[in-house]
């Protein structure tokens, strides 16, 4: 019938109009730039100039240099360690906020408290670790005063450790949030039922609570991974230039106008992130949880 057809037509028109802003935005600022980066990574770079003659030189340079491949492995290593740390610190916190706190108001208040550090700027949060961790920083002073150590601990600042501490603190809340959300959605009767069936706390946790919170863990891990893999500021401010992540390389290359090399690193970083996200999404079917 013609009436039905015109309704269908109108609906498909509406769909198109609703989709248009998103598609235009994403094409202009995501698809085109990515294609551009891939394209530029094959350009010919000379010391003071860059030309669009295609070449594999930058790619070859990346994979033949220990500095560059080393920074790839450093990035992966730091990412894995920070991911593990945010999970170890974040999961118990989320368990407390999302499951053990019975009042909804209190658990909201606790989540807001986790977010309070974000009211200051990113750089201040990172730099605040310097007077904490430094040779004459707060931690060393307290430990010296207590007589626990005789010499200040020097490995605390300007090492990989300080980068890991800083990143764990900054990104932990992105792990806590999604996990606490999933935990708070678990029906308390389920836990009571499991207990009534004779399961102890350990069994209830591993067989019921943890599997049901897994989608939250995956979402949290994706947040943390994406942010840590693209990091350059924390490592720049807390490592004393000893830890070079792919992000730091991009910053230096762009700074010296080495667009082709920066693009190569950019493409590699994007591919790594894509693999990580795809891998994490295989753990759970997020579609079922939404």
């Amino acid at each position: 019938m013609s009436g039905e057809i015109s309704i269908q037509k109108r609906q498909s028109n509406t769909t198109r109009w609703l989709l248009a802003p998103g598609i235009i935005w994403m094409s202009l600022f995501l698809v085109v730039p990515i294609l551009m980066i891939v394209y530029v990574s094959f350009w010919t770079q000379t010391t003071f100039n860059i030309s669009s003659d295609p070449t594999l030189a930058s790619w070859k340079q990346f994979f033949s240099s220990d500095t560059y491949t080393g920074s790839l492995w450093t990035t992966v290593r730091i990412w894995l360690i920070v991911l593990a740390c945010t999970f170890i610190v974040g999961y118990p916190t989320a368990l407390f906020v999302g499951l053990f706190v019975k009042s909804k108001t209190l658990s909201t208040v606790l989540l807001v408290i986790c977010v309070i550090p974000f009211w200051t700027s990113f750089l201040i949060r990172v730099l605040a670790w310097r007077p904490m961790l430094g040779k004459e920083g707060a931690i060393n002073i307290v430990l010296l005063k207590l007589g626990i150590i005789q010499q200040p601990i020097e490995v605390l600042l300007f090492t990989e450790l300080s980068v890991i501490i800083g990143m764990t603190q900054i990104y932990c809340v992105f792990m806590v949030g999604p996990i606490a959300f999933m935990l708070s959605r678990i029906d308390r009767n389920i836990i009571e039922a499991a207990r009534d069936l004779g399961a102890g706390f350990g069994r209830i946790f591993w067989k019921i609570i943890f599997p049901l919170s897994l989608p939250g863990v995956v979402v949290g891990a994706i947040f943390v991974s994406v942010m840590v893999l693209g990091e350059f500021a924390t490592s720049g401010a807390l490592s004393g230039r000893k830890v070079n992540l792919l992000g730091n390389i991009i910053v230096t290359q762009v700074g010296s106008l080495k667009w082709a090399m920066a693009s190569v690193v950019g493409v590699i970083l994007t591919v790594v992130m894509g693999i990580v996200i795809a891998g994490l999404l295989r753990i759970v079917d997020l579609k079922r949880e939404l």
Binding site: N189, E192, A193, R195, D196, L197, G198, I208, L212
Partner: protein
């Protein structure tokens, strides 16, 4: 009742100022189906949770199999609990749900034995062939059966069901009623079933416990409860009586329908005159009722399959219901907004009063 399975002795439970259970005492025998009937907030679910061990009582003792279990934690009581919303483990399959207690509790059974017993239980509740399904891939009635099977695999001597049919649609509800009774009879365990529906309580319970505001107000067989409600409140919950407020004095009850001689009355906190819906008759307004009568306007009727419910409105706005069993013949037809004279045999009325002649 040959042997007592559980006994409650003066159980009291408060939430702040609210008294959820007030000195409740009760005894249940082996192989019995007991239903707890009461409006919401009457304490029936609290009572169930106290028996299960989810809530500790402030005063009183709970005995199970002759042992005082008041301070025993829920999972060591050997009492099964079926939750109102079933509380199935959403990420597990049917058989994993049913076998959960055997696998993760203290049964000490091998995986093969657990599977065998789980499959037996799945067959018992009529879910054979569904054991591999996820619990979100089955219907509400099937989920109900999984919840029951999960509890029954633990071989409880007592199973507590918290409004088990509340989440099901009407058709399924009546089928599960029969099913629940049949499953219980096959296993020979005691079921305690909490419900807010008087039909369900009367249809399913070997005995019915009526609760109101934290107090047990009557315990009896469905027949006893139906024929001789112990108080106006019980009569009210049963939803089968027209209740008239009035005063009982000197063997006569005075109310809107005039003064009626009362040969026998039940002692109660207030004076109420109760007439069962199916004991009411409607006459033409000019007829001689030869007994108590009240004028009322016909509002509407409702066809219930086996009977016809007719609704009348008295002059004071009180709605009076009249049930006609269709097996007794074709129902009268009434004209809307017309006045009729409603009458009954005073000997069939149940009268409650402070000044009861008992």
């Amino acid at each position: 009742m040959d042997k007592s399975v559980f006994r409650l002795d003066g159980v009291t439970k408060r939430y702040g100022d609210l008294v959820a259970l007030d000195n409740a005492s009760l005894e249940a025998g082996e192989n019995e189906y007991i239903s707890f009937l009461g409006p919401s907030g009457s304490g029936k679910t609290t009572l169930l949770r106290v028996i299960a061990g989810f809530e500790p009582p402030e005063a009183g003792r709970v005995f199970f199999n002759g042992r005082d279990i008041t301070n025993v934690p829920a999972h060591e009581r050997g009492i099964g609990f079926v939750f109102q919303n079933f509380a199935l483990f959403p990420h597990l399959t049917v058989i994993q749900n049913v076998g959960f207690g055997l696998t993760h509790g203290k049964s000490g059974l091998s995986a093969a034995e657990v599977e065998k017993r789980s499959l037996e239980m799945i067959e018992l509740v009529g879910l054979s062939g569904m054991e591999g399904r996820g619990v979100d891939q089955i219907s509400g009635g099937q989920r109900q059966r999984v919840a029951l099977a999960r509890t029954l695999t633990m071989n409880p001597k007592l199973v507590l069901l918290d409004e088990p049919l509340g989440a099901l649609d009407a058709n399924l509800r009546s089928r599960m009623r029969t099913e629940l009774r049949a499953i219980r009879e096959r296993l020979g365990v005691t079921f305690v079933h909490v419900t807010g529906s008087e039909n369900e309580a009367l249809a399913m319970g070997d005995r019915v416990v009526v609760l109101d505001r934290g107090k047990i107000i009557q315990i009896g067989t469905p027949g006893e409860i139906y024929d001789t409600p112990a108080s106006p409140d019980v009569a009210h919950f049963l939803n089968r009586f027209n209740l008239f407020d009035g005063t009982l004095a000197g063997g006569r009850f005075n109310a809107v329908f005039g003064s009626v001689a009362v040969p026998h009355a039940v002692r109660a906190g207030k004076d109420v005159y109760a007439v069962r819906y199916d004991r009411m008759r409607a006459l033409a307004p000019t007829a001689d009722p030869q007994g108590p009568a009240i004028k009322a306007r016909f509002i509407a009727s409702e066809y219930l399959g086996s009977s016809m419910m007719n609704f009348f409105e008295a002059e004071d706005g009180h709605v009076i219901e009249l049930e006609h069993h269709l097996s007794l013949g074709t129902p009268q037809s009434f004209e809307a907004r017309q006045e009729y004279l409603l009458t009954w045999n005073p000997e069939q009325a149940i009268v409650f009063g402070r000044e009861a002649a008992r």
